[in-house]
Symmetry: C2
Subunit: 352 residues, 2 copies
């Protein structure tokens, strides 16, 4: 049995989507037991429509919920100890749940998770990892959580955590890892990135294969399984890519409806457009994972549909099922144990 706590109020559509998504996930993974948190008047009528789900779940009424537009500090002030989001996270802390999933306000979710669960001993910076559709399948990109900047140690931590997540989700033994940079040459880029690259190359971690620097266009190509960057450029990359995808879709939509001939062409090739939509859809593997905390917390897109929310629940399920946290903690310890030796070698090399 895997227990998932759900902030049923989160997201643009609240229980209508979160409960419906849970019903889909429950059919796929019957060993999940859900604990829903939310305002009774909003959740109960929806839950009633899914008797099978309701009979195998727990619903815990909360007096309030965290709004999509609250600032993190506001959300903490208003929701701490009582909102559906807080309660769902707290369930993980109290070992009442193995993972928490919310489609709510990202900033609030990060702040509350950080505050409630605290960083795992081995990590010193949280990060959000996202799944990115690529030409080769899917890659993990982190940090996309907008935590600005990262030291070289923190970049290696992110690499270790991202690789752990990739292993858990895709069952690959040594995922390939690249550091996002502005050129693939060793001499280019920020000092922290160069230093992190040196450490990843030298330290030889079992759980990942370091491939060097990658550039922005390598993300979509799927050049590596895990793309590591600090949160500023990660956010910029993610949003620039999303913007381009939306831009192309809109141009194409307008162009396809510009004449009767193109409209006919669209009808004939509708299956191709479905393929495109499905392959580029972030909802297909919906779920950013908050890494570095003492607990698994998954962020679903706020605007997702029930299928997308079910995908986020699946991510939580796989994380727990594959013992992500234990693996990440072990890998981080391994890196931190090896680091002094590496730095000593580095110092000696510098003196040669």
């Amino acid at each position: 049995m895997i227990r998932i706590s759900v902030d049923a109020m989160g997201g643009d559509f609240g229980p209508e989507i979160t409960i419906a998504g849970a019903a889909i996930a429950q059919k796929r993974f019957p060993e999940i037991r859900f604990i829903f948190y939310g305002v009774a008047s909003a959740v109960e009528p929806v839950l009633k429509r899914y008797p099978e789900l309701a009979s195998a779940s727990t619903f815990i009424a909360t007096e309030t919920y965290t709004r999509m537009d609250e600032k993190p500090s506001q959300a903490l002030r208003n929701g701490r100890g009582k909102s559906s989001m807080w309660k769902a996270i707290e369930a993980v802390k109290n070992d009442e749940a193995d993972a928490c999933v919310s489609a709510g306000n990202t900033g609030a979710l990060m702040a509350m998770s950080y505050f409630c669960l605290r960083m795992m001993e081995e990590a010193d910076r949280p990060g959000i990892a996202g799944v990115w559709p690529t030409l080769r399948g899917e890659s993990i990109v982190l940090d996309i959580g907008a935590t600005i900047g990262a030291s070289s140690d923190q970049l290696v931590d992110l690499a270790v955590m991202g690789a752990g997540m990739f292993r858990a989700l895709y069952n690959v033994k040594r995922p390939s890892v690249g550091l996002l940079n502005i050129g693939v040459e060793e001499v280019k880029g920020l000092d922290e990135i160069k230093q992190a690259g040196m450490m990843l190359r030298e330290i030889g971690l079992d759980g990942l294969e370091y491939k060097g620097f990658v550039e922005g266009n390598d993300i979509g190509k799927g050049t590596v399984d895990v793309v590591v960057t600090e949160g500023f450029s990660g956010n910029i990359a993610l949003k620039a890519a999303e913007g381009t995808a939306r831009q192309m879709a809109q141009i194409l939509r307008e162009a396809m409806s510009s004449s009767w001939l193109t409209k006919l062409g669209y009808l004939f090739s509708i299956s191709a457009f479905r393929q495109l939509k499905q392959k580029m859809d972030p909802g297909r593997v919906n779920g950013g994972v908050l890494l570095g905390l003492n607990g698994v917390v998954i962020k679903s897109h706020g605007g997702t549909d029930a299928d997308g929310f079910a995908s986020a629940l699946r991510v939580g399920y796989e994380m727990v099922n594959n013992k992500l946290l234990e693996k990440i903690a072990a890998d981080l310890r391994h890196f931190h144990d090896k680091k002094p030796e590496l730095l000593e070698r580095g110092t000696h090399a510098g003196h040669d």
Copy 2:
């Protein structure tokens, strides 16, 4: 008459494209006089095929040229004073040309331009500005030249230079300007960006209208005319967007040839795909402009075709025709004159 010096050897295809592109540009803008620099055995046979262009141009043979894969330091060592790229830049310095255009190696072009032309007195950091196709038309994004980091002053300089370029290219009096950030709220992001935002808001420059922060997805939307960022995230954004566009195009290509029905659909809607290609084509407004130097230098895409190279030549033509350098220098002086007063006000406000 506007004189443009051309590194005829630059780009993946050398004279075949650069000379052909110049022939196209000359028809559109008969007042351009070209000076071609290149190795005689490579350039002369191609130039002979365009007698009209040849009769109205000068060809200056150089003993060597800068390779596409040379590192900037190598390129300087090997090409300084003698390669076609260097000579074309030097023509601007010696007032033999009004602008220089090259499809060659970007790093080498930046290094040589910087070395040969030096920074304009009013600017203290070079930048490359690129034209980005958007849903609303075209925007200018800078710095995409991979110069890492920028102080708040330098970000304002980039804003001023980008707005000057937008005015020159599109004949808009007060282009809208946004600072690329990870959120639109005033409290988010790097200190330099917040400080630059404060200066742009307070100082009230005549040549631009400051609109606040924009995010990665605003670039493709065309939310503002000019998007300002330092070179690391600018490069990441550009390449992430390029990668996504290529990824979507490839998925679509494969999907459209997956069955006879979709193939037929493609034939019917081919005009729609042409529209998409044309609207997303970076070659349509080909040309990154090196800003902050004592001279106009345009970088064309290395893999461009003759039409694309003609577009880069057009950018050079418009820059000169609209007196870009003079305008930028005046705007920068205006900003630097106003800054002390602004900072004083800022200090007083801080003491209140």
